[in-house]
């Protein structure tokens, strides 16, 4: 319990040293500017060169959040209604290149990512942040302000890149720069249990 009571505060943008201080199992509260990006943004950023595109926000030291939010537009501007994470594994093909090309320091989503991404994280200094799947109202309440949006017309509300100022946005470090991977660890343990269950399955049917 002691570890979770002592949440680590993250202030963006992050330096490489900041990232080296983050370890798998850390509960963190994020403050600063993050951007959303899911399937279409990842494919686009991957296929185009850095020179071909004009990003509205410099991703260096920032966090890309795998999220397709519900955003409402009013006279006062945009407000985020609902903003939980989507499954990160769908971005596995592209993420490694985005980390090296844009200097992203945090990948946030749910469910963890694969070897290719983790290798890139270790090499360039980036962590995976598993936030709370389904807690969309709670997380939207921690978005202070919508600063801007990119590719809204082209990709639509769900797939656009939303540039968000967040305050005390909760997340858990599950893949770090030291090669630790909580998802892999749990998968390995459950694989052993599954083998044991299969071995003894006939005994109780």
């Amino acid at each position: 319990m002691s570890k979770i009571e002592k949440a680590k505060i993250i202030n963006l943008p992050l330096s490489k040293e900041d990232v080296l201080n983050l370890h798998t199992g850390d509960f963190v509260l994020i403050n600063g500017v993050i951007v959303t990006g899911r399937d279409k943004i990842h494919e686009y950023l991957f296929k185009k060169t850095k020179e071909e595109i004009k990003l509205k926000y410099d991703l260096k030291g920032s966090i890309i959040y795998h999220c397709g939010p519900i955003v409402k537009k009013s006279k006062e501007g945009y407000s985020v209604i609902s903003a939980g994470p989507t499954t990160s594994m769908r971005m596995e093909m592209y993420e490694h290149a985005l980390i090296s090309r844009y200097g992203i320091r945090g990948i946030m989503g749910k469910g963890g990512m694969g070897e290719k991404t983790h290798k890139s994280m270790i090499e360039y200094g980036c962590v995976y942040l598993n936030t709370i799947g389904g807690a969309a109202t709670y997380l939207a309440e921690r978005v202070d302000k919508v600063l801007d949006v990119w590719m809204l017309e082209e990709f639509g509300m769900v797939e656009a890149m939303w540039i968000l100022k967040v305050k005390d946005f909760p997340s858990i470090v599950t893949m770090d720069t030291y090669g630790n991977n909580l998802h892999k660890k749990i998968k390995n343990t459950s694989s052993k249990t599954l083998k044991r269950l299969f071995k003894h399955i006939h005994q109780n049917i």
Binding site: M1, K3, I4, G25, F27, C67, G68, P69, I70, K72, I81, S82, A83, G84, T86, T87, M89, K110, G111, G112, N130, I132, G133, G134, A135, A136, T137, Y138, L139, A140, E141, G156, M157, V158, P170, I172, T174, L182, H183, I186, K187, T189, S190, S191, T193, L194, L197, F198, I201, H202, N204, I205
Partner: protein
């Protein structure tokens, strides 16, 4: 009140609150879990409360709406379908729901959650005096980790018997890990054809967690498999722990001698299901005399 307005309210109930049985199960899980998993469940419980109070969607993925309509023989199916489509468009803006219907050729999102086969509507005629409309908002994260098996499956050493079925279910949850937002609600359909078992498993998703299978053999099996799943250690959101699933529900149909399909439909902890039950005033079935919306 027009049927359309009631369906909008059904959408609102389903999107912004989760059933009490699931909320209770989450509270139990909170007491059982430790460390980061406990912290995650605490945030989940706060989210449920906040969503209910503010009438905002529990999860930004308001899913694929799946309707199960039990209608009386004299009530027009076309009329109900029209009301559902119209309600879907209004609810998407009013609640709001996330527009999730994407055209496969153009890649364009219709913007109002309607399109070819979207929402999904199943009709069934009943002798009851009530019209019952069940709605499940099926999130894609958990749908994407659902699996369809064809027995025998040599890789799993799964033969055409209940032991084989058990192997399939355990395998599907192992493969899902934390990607589909556990604790999961697991629903299984077994039968002759692919389309039939996938619908049958979705029907099992309507059952409450405390609903027991009428067949004692299946009831035992459901409980036994659930217990085994919870030894896998995947835990809430895949962060590790004792609570990987809340329930396993199994439905059976007859099969073909050559076929044995097993479909495992997985729902996330944010399993949004609600029901509208209404009675009509008159023979023409236009004016609604009473209704209730529950989940």
């Amino acid at each position: 009140m027009r049927l359309r307005e009631l369906i909008i309210n059904l959408y609102r109930k389903s999107a912004t609150s989760i059933p009490s049985d699931i909320e209770d199960a989450l509270s139990t899980a909170f007491n059982k879990e430790k460390g980061i998993s406990k912290k995650a469940i605490k945030i989940i419980l706060e989210n449920i409360n906040s969503s209910r109070v503010k009438q905002k969607p529990i999860c930004q993925d308001t899913g694929v709406p799946i309707f199960f309509v039990k209608n009386q023989h004299c009530l027009s199916q076309a009329y109900i379908e029209k009301e559902i489509i119209s309600a879907t468009k209004i609810a998407t803006k009013a609640i709001p729901l996330r527009p999730n219907a994407v055209d496969i050729i153009s890649g364009i999102n219709s913007g109002d959650n309607t399109g070819n086969g979207f929402p999904i509507i199943y009709f069934e005629e009943t002798k009851s005096k009530e019209l019952i409309i069940d709605l499940i908002l099926k999130g894609a994260g958990s749908e994407n980790v659902s699996q369809l098996y064809k027995l025998p499956d040599e890789k799993l050493n799964a033969e055409r018997n209940f032991e084989g079925v058990e192997r399939c279910i355990l395998d599907s949850i192992f493969k899902a890990q934390g990607k589909g937002c556990p604790p999961y609600i697991i629903a299984v359909g077994i039968g002759a054809t692919k389309d039939q078992v996938t619908k049958l498993s979705k029907e099992q998703l309507k059952r409450r967690l405390d609903d027991t299978n009428k067949d004692p053999l299946l009831n035992n099996m459901e409980n036994r498999i659930l217990e085994k799943i919870n030894t896998l250690g995947i835990g809430p959101l895949g962060l590790g722990g004792k609570t990987t699933a809340f329930s396993v529900k199994i439905g059976l149909n007859h099969r073909h001698p050559a076929s044995y399909f097993v479909d495992v439909s997985i729902a996330c902890w944010a399993h949004r299901r609600a029901s509208l039950i209404c009675r009509f005033k008159d023979e023409e079935k236009v004016e609604i005399s009473s209704f209730k919306i529950i989940n």
